[in-house]
Amino acid sequence: MEEMEEIRLEALKALTVLVIHDDQFRRQVWDDLEGTLSRYGFALNERELAKVRDFRNAIADSVDEEVVGGLTTSFR
């Protein structure tokens, strides 16, 4: 059941490499998610894109204070 909801591993690994190594990608992906992914050659399907979009929106909606608030109730 869970299997159908996941983002392909290859896409996640490629995203992780870019986020770690590519300063430009890091900056552009916040401002223009879909354009940046497309320029870097990602062909995510609708379901995968929706998941990435949901996460990006969740970050955009959170101010740092909210994130920090979450950390104080986090666990090890």
């Binding site: 869970e2 299997e3 392909r8 591993l9 992780t16 300063d23 998941k51 996460f55 994130v67 090890r76």
Partner: protein, 355 residues
């Protein structure tokens, strides 16, 4: 039309499931520590030395009470159950993982000068001796309990080798952790590699040990190893962020650690702001009064959001790896729940932490 009552019913069901999960986790913790109590009690050693080991088992028990999600207990048992439907045979493996975890944790505490209260009245050389025993001798003795249950010698050797390999990789990660403060330039990749060696290897061991006992299938074992590694890396980044922004924060700043938020900010900021951060980092080793200045510059660099992104990417990789192993229920659902809790964003975690 939407029925608001339906939402509250769903919320109640989720809350009940979360509460049952938490109780199950506590029960697992009790079973593992009962085994470890018995193991230490049976050791042919002087009472004083036994007491030393029991002191740290007590620290572990307190920790498991406060943090029932303790991965060294949950992962081996749940992974075994996700493959075979039964978690009980993996109890000695979970015991071994917990001993290794407690040894590494004690070693970390010694290095960071933050020993738990029950160790503070003792000489630090005694803590070192206990850490060495927890890391080097006790896990194998817990694994040896499997022999009594008829586990073949070849599997026991495979498990012993897993622990040795993981211990070596974790040691390499610890070495990098100690080395980085003295280096001029540490890259984001260096920092990620350290997290992979330190915590990725540890969580990979917890998952792989359960899988190795449960199956001979290499692709299943590999999927759980990758799941554990990504889960551990995500958890390390959360801990790094928590140390700077969370409760009881600042130990890493006092110890001059080059954790990912710091490395990201140093890689992102330029000119005067970068110099200012470096100056504040030096001053932060002497006093906590400079820590807010560091946090301000980290915010300007977008370091917290960067950590949130990297945690999410590793968490998603762990989900995909877990899905590829097709875990059986109900253990599979519990593994997904544990993983979902490893998120920094509060509203991503809120629905998972209901208790």
């Amino acid at each position: 039309m939407t029925n608001p009552g339906a939402f509250s019913e769903v919320g109640n069901v989720e809350s009940k499931i979360a509460s049952i999960d938490k109780e199950r986790r506590r029960e697992r913790g009790k079973r593992v520590f009962a085994l470890l109590d018995e193991l230490v009690l049976a050791l042919p050693v002087r009472p004083g030395y036994r007491k030393l080991l029991q002191t740290h088992l007590g620290v572990g028990k307190d920790l498991a009470q406060k943090w029932p999600e303790m991965s060294s207990i949950q992962l081996p048992l749940l992974v075994h159950a996700a493959i075979t439907g039964d978690e009980m045979p993996a109890l000695p493996v979970a015991g071994a993982c917990t001993l290794l975890y407690l040894g590494a944790d004690l070693f970390d505490s010694i290095v960071d000068h933050e020993l738990p209260p029950s160790w503070r009245t003792r000489d630090s050389s005694q803590a070192s001796l206990a850490a060495t025993t927890f890391l080097g001798a006790l896990p194998e003795l817990s694994i040896a309990r499997l022999q009594e249950k008829g586990t073949p010698s070849a599997k026991l050797w495979t498990l012993a080798r897993l622990f040795a390999d993981a211990g070596l990789t974790m040691g390499a990660g610890q070495y990098e952790d100690l080395l980085f403060p003295s280096l001029q330039n540490v890259s984001i990749e260096d920092s990620r590699a350290m997290a992979e060696h330190k915590s990725g290897a540890e969580y990979a061991l917890f998952a792989t040990a359960g899988a190795t006992l449960a199956t001979e299938d290499p692709s299943t074992i590999e999927a759980y190893a990758s799941f554990g590694s990504c889960f551990g890396i995500a958890q390390q980044f959360i801990n790094d962020a928590q140390d700077i922004w969370g409760d009881g924060s600042g130990r890493d700043l006092l110890n001059g650690k080059r954790t990912l938020p710091i490395v990201h900010a140093l890689s992102t900021l330029r000119g005067e702001r970068r110099e200012r951060l470096q100056k504040l980092l030096r001053a932060s080793r002497e006093s906590t009064e400079h820590h807010d200045g560091v946090r301000t510059l980290l915010a300007e660099a977008g370091s917290l959001r960067y950590i949130v992104l990297l945690v999410w990417l590793h968490q998603q990789q762990a989900r995909t790896q877990l899905a590829s192993a097709s875990p059986s229920e109900p253990a599979g659902r519990e593994l997904y729940t544990l993983l979902d809790q490893a998120s920094i964003l509060p509203h991503f975690r809120a629905s998972q932490i209901a208790d």
